[in-house]
Amino acid sequence: MKYLAEYRDPVLARRLVHEVCATATQRWSIMEVCGGQTHTLVRQGIDEVLPVRMIHGPGCPVCVTSLEVLDRALAIAARPDVTFVSYGDMLRVPGSSTDLLALKARGADIRIVYSPVDAVRLAVANPDRQVVFFAVGFETTAPANAMALLEAVRRGLENFSMLASHVLVPPAMTAVLEAPDCQVQGFLAAGHVCAVMGWAQYEPIAAKYAVPIVVTGFEPLDLLEGILMTVRQLEQGRAEVENQYARAVRRDGNRPAQLALERVFEVTDRTWRGIGAIPASGLRLADEFAAYDAELRFDVGDIVAAENPLCIAGEVLQGTKNPTDCAAYGRICTPRSPLGAPMVSSEGTCAAFHRAGRTA
């Protein structure tokens, strides 16, 4: 595929490694926000060959979807009148007492879709079923989910509703920077979030916290170049927003997608699993669309959420601990039987470490 082989070129990768080595005069700490980037870094061993400390960030929507929301999803999915529709990565994420896959095995009607448009198609094809779409994700995913809702409205689908729990990246970066023990000196911003939102949102963060932020892609060369650009800024005492991923990201992002977000959602406070409440860090359905809000449509009583006490996912997600610091890692917590969300998702840090065979 075009520009995949080129951006995985091992000769250029080595050259970039050498350039980072030649540029860094100290071991800077850089956070990659996005879990997709964590996976490339860990799989390729990039974080182990560079003279920088990579801190793995909270950018895995599956990992940070709050336990309370997940428990609510499980309660709705268990209803006999509901066809529950989800992205595949959510299926094995542990709730307080079960997960979607176990519910499905016990006969609940749970479907996996690749695109939210498929959820709308399911509602059209099954008019006698209540189709509920579990709309999670960052700014990259939210426009697609917004369009599913607008399509359902346009087609007058009364049997479609949405359990929406979106999270936003800039408030999470601010929360990381505000933490008293914050060690992050520079950020790789998530390229595809910026493809939608642009990067103007990051300029006040870079200025206020004097932290370089480099919009970065997902291939090995992208990550290496993003790290190099961050290290150069740190060495030169600059704190700017730069764009490594110029082939895919424009300063203003994708306006039509932003307009759909503004139309369908409202900014809200959000609890991040393992991390806690972050002000104005999420999107919920706007009041105009309350009739499509699954939380209001289905009364599932009070939700009492309880995490597994062994899991240190919160510290892993904030970059203060590595998965290998967790007593459960690889022993009682594995991708086959996960205790916490970061061991499940393809973007979770614990799963990335486990897949790469990392040990303490």
Binding site: V11, C60, V62, T141, A144, H192, A246
Partner: protein, 99 residues
């Protein structure tokens, strides 16, 4: 689920009012919604996330980035590291762990 994948637009059509495209991902074909990239032309490369094209790949920028990397100053590096720069035509010791 957060990943975006680049693919080439093969054909554009309409599904009940939604602009859709057939996109080729290195041999695998998928229907992709173009509602957020309405200007897309057949033959261009788009980055697709959960069935929606979110941005077009700018081929000139892609080439430019690669050119910058290819012309990175290998000699200065060699002096710094005491070994010939990779790609300079002289055998090098590979860095561990990289592809």
């Amino acid at each position: 689920m957060c990943l975006g994948v680049p693919g080439r637009v093969l054909a554009i059509d309409d599904e009940g009012g939604l602009p859709m495209a057939q996109v080729d991902f290195g041999g695998i074909r998928r229907d992709v919604c173009l509602v957020y990239l309405p200007e897309t032309q057949v033959g261009s490369y788009v980055i697709v996330h959960v069935g929606f094209a979110i941005t077009e790949v700018d081929e000139a920028e892609a080439q430019r980035t690669l050119e910058v990397l290819r012309t990175m100053d290998g000699d200065a590096l060699a002096a710094e590291l005491g070994e010939p720069a990779p790609g300079s035509g002289v055998a090098t010791t590979p860095s561990p762990g990289l592809p």
